[in-house]
């Protein structure tokens, strides 16, 4: 226990070291989460839009020439 406590004290600079590391982790994780959220919602909207569009498109061209990439990541 004492050794853990001493480690967490960081030689008396805990008040600077842990906030610095915590803030770095927060920013990195937040950027990742927000970007993933953007990507997922965008892909969902795109799938919906393409689903409503497909019937019209199918009349004009055969389905296997569909140029859009497959969005299953």
């Amino acid at each position: 226990m004492d050794r853990i406590y001493e480690y967490l004290q960081m030689g008396g600079h805990a008040a600077f070291i842990w906030p610095a590391l915590g803030l770095t982790a927060t920013v990195l994780i937040l950027m990742l989460v927000l970007s993933l959220h953007d990507l997922r919602t965008g892909e969902a909207v795109l799938r919906r839009l393409e689903a409503t569009r497909t019937p019209r498109r199918a009349r004009r061209s055969p389905p296997d020439s569909h140029p859009e990439p497959n969005y299953e990541a």
Partner: protein
């Protein structure tokens, strides 16, 4: 040039990014585990700075990535202005928030390091001021490239801003050599051998690699998100004109 255009093709990029992403993502996780182990446990305290040297392991890699990200953004902006590659504007736009995030980390961790070591949270020396300017350049780019509903309209102005702001990158790098600053000069990238003991250089370089892998992963993700939203926009416009 024909080869470059092949990579600039959005569908080709999507296929390429889908091949790279699993690798870069797992590499990020792996490098962070190893890097953090060395940075937090398996490295000694500094003879002068004690344990605060551990702040260096996130502060310095963030600074490197903040400048790398700006260089990527400037290169993409030049490509967009000169060759009008469809992916170039998208790359610059996707990179700006990442750079702003890393610059924020540099400023905040530097401040938390400066207080116990220098005796101050902030000084207006050439290094600190030029990094603050970098942060504002990123914010300006974000605002400018998103100022219009049509993303292509703000892109030209944002690209010019990115290129003009690029003069700041060498200023940041060499500020500590050109002028007297409170900030110390470079420890790793200098002509002589690094002024860091191998026991401390190891966690620093591992963390730098982890940050780089994270940067690549996040940039690819954001470019994909950006491509998706452009497609949505194009579809909506097509539908609106069809109705």
């Amino acid at each position: 040039m024909a080869n470059l255009h092949r990579f600039a093709n959005p569908n080709r990029f999507l296929r390429l990014s889908r091949a790279i992403l699993p690798w870069s993502a797992s590499l990020t996780v792996l490098l962070f585990i190893v890097g953090l182990y060395f940075a937090l446990f398996a490295s000694p305290a500094d003879y002068q700075q004690g344990e605060t040297v551990r702040i260096m392991y996130v502060h310095v890699p963030s600074a490197w990535i903040a400048m790398l990200c700006y260089s990527v953004m400037a290169a993409a902006s030049a490509t967009a202005l000169i060759w009008r590659h469809p992916l170039a504007d998208i790359t610059a736009r996707a990179a700006a928030p990442i750079g702003a995030g890393f610059t924020l980390i540099v400023l905040a961790t530097g401040s938390l390091w400066g207080k116990p070591m220098w005796g101050t949270w902030w000084v207006w020396d050439a290094r600190l001021t030029s990094v603050l300017i970098l942060f504002f350049l990123y914010l300006g780019h974000i605002a400018l490239s998103r100022a219009f509903d049509d993303p292509t309209r703000g892109a030209r102005a944002a690209a010019v801003l990115a290129l003009v702001g690029f003069v700041n990158v060498p200023i940041i790098k060499f500020s500590v050599d050109w002028w007297n600053t409170l900030h110390q000069p470079a420890s790793v990238s200098r002509l002589a051998a690094p002024a860091i003991d191998p026991a401390m250089l190891r966690p620093l370089l591992l963390m730098a690699l982890a940050f780089t892998a994270y940067f690549v992963t996040l940039l690819l993700l954001r470019i994909r998100a950006e491509l998706t939203s452009r497609k949505i926009r194009a579809l909506q416009l097509a539908q609106a004109s069809a109705e």
